[in-house]
Amino acid sequence: MAYLSFPRFSAYLHRLVVRLGLVLAVAGAALSLPARGEPGDFTIGGFGTVGMARTNTNDVEFVRDLSQPRGARKRWTGNVDSILGLQANWRINSEFAAVVQGVSRYRYDRSYTPEIAWAYLKVDPSPTLSMRFGRLGTEFFMLADSRLVGYSYLPVRPPGDYFWSLPFSSINGADAALTVPLADNTLRGKIYYGIADGKIPLEDEQWNIGGSPMMGAYLEYQAGPWLLRGSYANIRFNSNLPILQNFYSLVPHYLTADQARTSLDYLRVDGTRSHYYSLGLVYDNGPWQFQLMLNSIDQGSRAFADSYAGYALAGYRIGSVTPYLGYSWVRSRNYSPSSLPGVTQVQADSFSRQGTTIVGARWDVARNVALKAQWDAIRGDSASIFPFRRERPGWDGRVDVFSLTMDFVF
């Protein structure tokens, strides 16, 4: 059990703050340069979150998403939500633009090594058609492509029950979006295709999902303050879970190589295709904000359970403070039970059956700076261990998460 010792944890925070300070100083200098929307211009902007989170138990670790190998326990940690992103935009002319975005956050290898999240060339052949080529964020679900920009949404982080099963954040590929007017409302469709890029930390190893082709599409109808979106996406995995090393330790009794191979073949992920369906409804008018999202995931591999998830979130702005209330849930379904040795144990790792009550407030304290405080009350089955990290036997499925963040954009 090599969890973060206090000095090491403290060093993380210190390094983060120093980096944030340095980058903000540089960005501050950049901001004082004139930046106007003229053709041929070059602009730099950024976003970030300084966050602290803790829970009320040491029995599990709470993570923001699957990319995080370690999470929050009883001690405050800055790793869950802290992030810094910098984006450079070069507008070549009215048709072409190039964008690069780098992001530093706690990631699969327990470092804050910056990554290129976006790097693309955007072509707008007409005011209604837009195409992008390069490294792109994915919109598997509504708002999934701005999950890291805390300033852009109401709660501290996108509801985990809904987004946890979404480890993919970038593809190398292309997308195209078309907008069509319907009276004074708009209909927008988008399609994308690309090769996934990313690593998912497992117990001791990392699962590299790079090279897996994914594609998707959505249709979105905007009518005044209402926005309705339906979307579909799929990914065809091209690698297996790296569980071979651990597999023998999962199974207490003697196992022949043949038996192990049969079990692993049953749990094969390589070559399987998972399907993602979602529906989102957003109402945003005056002081009110309301979101309702539903998704259904059909897994191709017998190693993972299919699932339903959803959330509802409502906020009402009073002056510069917006209290909000939400509920999210996730339910595994359609297991493929088997008496083959080890199968049940591997499947148990992706099981979830829980709901989360979210209570919090966002305070827009200054221009482009928001402070947020949030309480997440997660109530689940004790077997609902996905995607928590390092759960201890005997955990009762309940965890409360307390979060404080400062989000900013520049």
Binding site: T179, G286, R367
Partner: protein, 149 residues
Amino acid sequence: MRRLPFSALVALLPLVAAPSALAQSSATGGLAVVVNARCGVAVLTRNEVVNIFFGRYRLFFNGREAQPADLEDSHPMRSQFYRRLVGKDISEINAYWSRQIFSGRMRALPKVATPEEMTQWIVANPCGIGFVEQAKVDARFNIVFELAP
């Protein structure tokens, strides 16, 4: 551990202490959304104005492309405009644009510093569109939508 909130706040001081609203008189009368008269657009619905200023759709019914300009954040007329148009606070407008910009959907609208520059923008672009005090509208502009106080 206690060091984080404090040093983070120090690091952010330049942002928090950004210049507050300029001491300029704000429009007490009506605001009007105006289009360059040469563009040939006479009237828009509230939804159409929202579509243009939120970057959702920017073609007029006659097929010409709207060229909107926004005011700098610090100008009080900007918050009046969005409050009257959609009932939203400036922080919510900026949150909306941060989502658009950092998910690469679109760029922010071009920004001008003063209402005078706004009228210059509208005159200089064949289908320029912006918001001005209704009392200051002349023949160079078509009022396409009125926002009562």
